[in-house]
């Protein structure tokens, strides 16, 4: 090998950045478009929330009037309370359901593939359809209650859909049916990636299946649980089509949810400014959830980096 030759010349005709232009474009254009649309749309909404816009966006300044109107409205208050209830119940229950399904499927049972599809298929169906079908099933005059009555058990009662206090739970049921499959898939993936040696070690240590789940496997699912919680939470916060088709916010306004209120204000009532204010409040709720999560992630990373 001769060392006399210096480094092979590049292609001096084109400067580095020109040669790499296509790659810069490919990286930056989609990312920037995506980021730009998110940032500008959010800023636009914030701006609108301070204007007197009604049917269409207009300029002007009304200060916090839209916000106070939204905050004072019964719809928003109910929606907010519902979100707390629905959000926590749904997230918790879908977590538990998804985890339970994943654990069951993890037992090396026959027909796992088929069963997995059974639990996943609701994800394939649109929320509108889900809402409609569940409104059939849960409607006491059409669905399950009617069926049971027709079968002879006439004192059977399952009328949450028309019960102001319980209606929110019908949304929980439908939402769980629809999305626990996703939680299941994530958890199953997590269970499957627990190092088998660790489980073997626990067996050697004398732990039974229950203890192994409780002490070894479940604690290792923390990061996945966080992912599931975040994704389900965003689902809960943005739940819209489903409620619209299932209860449309009723009975009365008992099952209002923030996303529904935003849509209703912006488009049904043609109060764009107020709708935007409600949307911004929703974003704030989201941030209230996401910021602690981001902080947690940050701390995790820092800790990992220092370990």
């Amino acid at each position: 090998m001769s060392n006399a030759a210096a480094i092979r010349p590049g292609r001096p005709a084109l400067p580095e950045w020109v040669r790499r232009l296509p790659e810069y474009l490919m990286i930056w254009v989609p990312l920037l478009l995506s980021a730009a649309h998110l940032v500008s749309f959010s800023l636009w909404t914030i701006w609108i929330s301070f204007t007197p816009s009604t049917l269409v966006p207009v300029t002007g300044w009304v200060g916090l009037r839209n916000y106070s109107a939204v905050a004072a409205s019964r719809n928003w208050q109910i929606a907010f309370d519902n979100l707390l209830l629905f959000g926590s119940a749904f997230v918790l229950l879908s977590l538990v359901t998804g985890l339970a399904l994943a654990i069951l499927l993890d037992q090396r049972i026959r027909g796992e593939n088929l069963l997995r599809s059974v639990f996943l298929y609701p994800l394939a169906v649109s929320f509108v359809v889900t809402g409609t079908v569940w409104s059939w099933l849960l409607n006491p005059g059409l669905g399950i209650q009617k069926l049971v009555h027709d079968l002879g058990w006439t004192s059977f009662k399952f009328d949450w859909l028309i019960d102001r206090d319980m209606a929110i739970w019908t949304i929980v049921i439908a939402a769980i049916w629809q999305s626990s499959g996703f939680a299941m898939a994530l958890f199953l993936a997590g269970l499957r990636s627990v190092d088998t040696d660790i489980i073997k070690a626990a067996q050697i240590d004398g732990a039974g299946p229950f203890r192994i789940y409780r002490r070894i496997i479940l604690p290792s699912l923390w990061p996945i649980t966080i992912t599931v919680v975040v994704i389900q939470l965003q689902f809960a916060i943005s739940t819209f089509d489903l409620v619209r088709a299932l209860t449309n916010g009723g009975p009365g306004i008992a099952t209002q949810l923030p996303a529904l209120v935003v849509y209703d204000l912006m488009f049904q009532r043609s109060l764009l400014g107020r709708g935007a204010a409600a949307a911004v409040l929703m974003l704030l709720i989201l941030l209230a959830v996401l910021l602690p999560y981001a902080a947690w992630r940050y701390v995790q990373r820092r800790r990992a980096a220092h370990a």
Partner: protein, 369 residues
């Protein structure tokens, strides 16, 4: 009494036969080292002994009892996994006490047991940490601690030092050996490290393709490898092996390497009586690199045979010099003292310790003498 008896054990995965009729009897208090190339079935065997995997055929007896249908937790075994397999969400202390917790050992007893083991392994300061906050060597010791805190019928160690650097390895090796001497435990220990195998074992089981090739004490395995596989697997650099002829001569049997060549090498044998039937036939000749030394080396018990051989390559390793030379046209490695470095391309005198050579049947590859 045999602490562990394995009888005609076999294991197949789909169309792959991983273990093919293993028979092993391990005495109580023995330190058995399991070696063999990657994929030969060592971990599989350990897993079956532990009850973590089911044999396709054969039985496993622990302490005289067939345990085939006994779940792992009732076999009274402690195991250290190659990957440590520490519980990531538990502290070091919890990792160590988890087994006792499962067995409902009283809290006070747990505490004192942890204290003992932590002292032994010098991990007292780490008890509150999570595994992710430990260095490799510390993790290793915790994995050890989890096993040592128990007093089982059988310890199973699966390559427990494989992830340590040279220095730490030496330290841990000593510690395990000391431990074995102190508590007299029965141990099966998998490793791919030659020195570990040689220094720790009371007996070594060499496995290859799911079959135990040889099961004997380290000296026997090293000195009298049962077949060519064992000969070439044990030792680093491994035993030099080359085709040769066994000839009868006035003074007794002579090994001829490169017969008929101008540089033919003739080595007179002493005390290789069992080789008699092979006189006049082809054999495989084996000699360990440390049995070829610089010309003026005196091997204990007798004057060595000295040959002049061409040097092909020289590798000083600091503690010694490895020389690639030609014996009757065949390549061989020699280990000589570090100060001597014969220049490649020249010939140099080498002392051969012929009392420690091996002869193998070229067909069956088994040891003749």
């Amino acid at each position: 009494m045999a602490a562990l008896s394995i009888r005609t054990l076999s294991k197949r995965y789909a169309n792959l036969e991983v273990l093919k009729g293993i028979d092993l009897d391990i005495e109580s208090g023995e330190f058995t080292v399991l070696v063999g190339p990657s994929g030969c079935g060592k971990s599989t065997l350990l897993n079956i002994v532990a009850g973590l995997d089911h044999p396709s055929a054969g039985t496993v007896e622990i302490g005289g009892r067939v345990v085939n249908d006994v779940p792992p937790k009732d076999r009274d075994i402690a195991m250290v996994f190659q990957s440590y397999a520490l519980y990531p969400s538990m502290t070091v202390r919890q990792n160590i006490t988890f087994g006792m917790e499962c067995r409902h050992v009283p809290k006070a007893e747990q505490d004192s047991a942890v204290a003992n083991v932590a002292k032994l392994l010098q991990i007292e300061a780490l008890l509150g940490r999570k595994p992710s906050q430990l260095s490799g060597g510390q993790r290793q010791r915790v994995a050890m601690g989890r096993a040592l805190v128990r007093d089982p019928l059988l310890f199973l160690f699966d390559e427990p030092l494989s992830n340590l650097d040279a220095k730490l390895r030496v330290e841990m090796r000593m510690e395990i050996k000391r431990l074995h001497q102190r508590i007299g435990a029965t141990i099966i220990y998998v490793t791919h490290d030659q020195i570990e195998a040689m220094t720790m074992a009371t007996r070594i089981a060499v496995m290859h393709r799911g079959v135990v090739q040889q099961f004997a004490d380290p000296d026997t395995v090293y000195r009298y490898p049962a077949n060519l596989f064992v000969a070439r697997f044990m030792g680093s650099p491994p035993m030099n092996t080359m085709p040769a002829r066994l000839e009868a001569d006035a003074g007794g049997p002579v090994v001829v390497i490169g017969a008929g060549r101008p540089d033919e090498v003739r080595l007179r044998l002493q005390g290789y009586d069992s080789a008699a039937p092979y006189l006049g036939r082809e054999v495989v000749f084996g000699i360990r690199p440390e049995c070829i030394a610089e010309g003026n080396r005196v091997f204990s018990g007798g004057a060595p045979i000295v040959v002049h051989a061409p040097v092909e390559m020289v590798e000083p390793t600091g503690a010694e010099t490895i020389v690639l030379l030609r014996l009757g046209g065949e390549s061989a490695l020699a280990r000589i003292t570090p100060d001597i470095r014969p220049p490649p391309g020249t010939a140099a005198p080498f002392a051969l310790d012929t009392r420690r050579i091996c002869l193998f049947d070229p067909e069956t590859e088994r040891l003749i003498a």
